[in-house]
Amino acid sequence: MSDTILEALQPIFREVFENPTLTVSAESNAGSVQGWDSLAHVNLIMAVESAFGVRFALGELEELQCVGDMVALIRSKQSN
């Protein structure tokens, strides 16, 4: 399930960061992905919400530190 979510995130990251060869792992974070600044972060969150049909609370986003955290949050939203 998590692997499926991570797989579905790949094209979203490539589009938001305008990098067709970008591949993120669960450990990827703002420090390791070039261009992941505050503006890209907002665009990424909006794109993820749209693609997965979920809405994140601001408090939930505060705790995201890496792509794996995002995968876990999406999974928890989908299971609710």
Binding site: A30, D37, V42, I45, L61, E63, L64
Partner: protein, 233 residues
């Protein structure tokens, strides 16, 4: 000697905190606008609505949260305040949280429309250091000025962080506009003597804000702080 006590801010302090934020973010422009108004295209009324919205979310770890603000009271009356948090420990960078607050308030279309201005500012704002204690939005009520309350606030917060069990940060840092000379003098007097190199502002940033950029200054929290000179802020 007046009896001052430090406490966390609550929603009861909203008026003081919004006044503090608008003062701290005031741009060196003729029309008295704040950074949020220039950046997001707000008038003053909408800017205050945004700040109320942001504070009301009370998401920790950035400068627009009740949780981050400390209020220094004199005889129970708020005399001064500032925001403080530790940057990005077990959390996203504060700039991410603030950007999400802006986007949530603006909505997708207005956020996209402000993207050019947001990019200009984002390229100039210094990156805060992960794990460092952040201090921001110092404000002293007019009738309490000239009593060294900025230094007192810094020392009280530094003391909190010097207790070994809570020593989450060993360095404090402040980011502010280069033009804010009176505040710079106060922070230098309070021990913020180390400057982190910052980028010169682009012509677009200067046109948008009237500022030539930011100053990024730091202070070692392990240094003695009881003997720092009082200042006249």
């Amino acid at each position: 000697m007046s009896n001052y006590t430090l406490r966390r801010a609550t929603s009861q302090d909203a008026h003081l905190l919004i006044e503090a934020i608008l003062a701290a973010e005031r741009l060196p422009l003729a029309d008295d606008r704040s950074m949020y108004e220039a950046l997001l295209g707000f008038d003053r009324r909408e800017c205050m609505a945004f700040l109320q919205f942001a504070l009301g979310q009370n998401v920790a770890g950035h400068q627009l949260s009740y949780d981050s603000f400390r209020v220094l009271c004199c005889g129970g009356e708020p005399a001064a305040c500032c925001a403080t948090w530790i940057e990005g420990v077990n959390a996203a960078p504060s700039s991410f949280a603030v950007a999400m607050l802006m986007a949530s308030f603006l909505g997708k279309e207005r956020w996209a429309a402000r993207a050019p201005a947001l990019r200009i500012v984002s390229a100039t704002v210094p990156k805060r250091t992960q794990g460092y204690l952040q201090l921001e939005t110092f404000f002293v009520a007019p009738r309490h000025r000239g009593q060294g309350l900025v230094t007192r606030l810094i020392n009280e917060i530094a003391f909190e962080h010097s207790v070994p069990e809570s020593a989450a940060a060993l360095t404090a840092e402040i980011v502010l506009f280069r033009e804010n000379q009176s505040a710079i003098r106060a922070y230098r007097a309070a021990g913020f003597l180390r400057s982190v190199p910052t980028a010169d502002a682009s012509s677009e940033f200067i046109a948008l804000t009237g500022s030539r950029g930011y100053l990024h200054i730091q202070r070692d929290l392990t240094l003695p702080f009881h003997d720092t000179p009082e200042n006249a802020s």
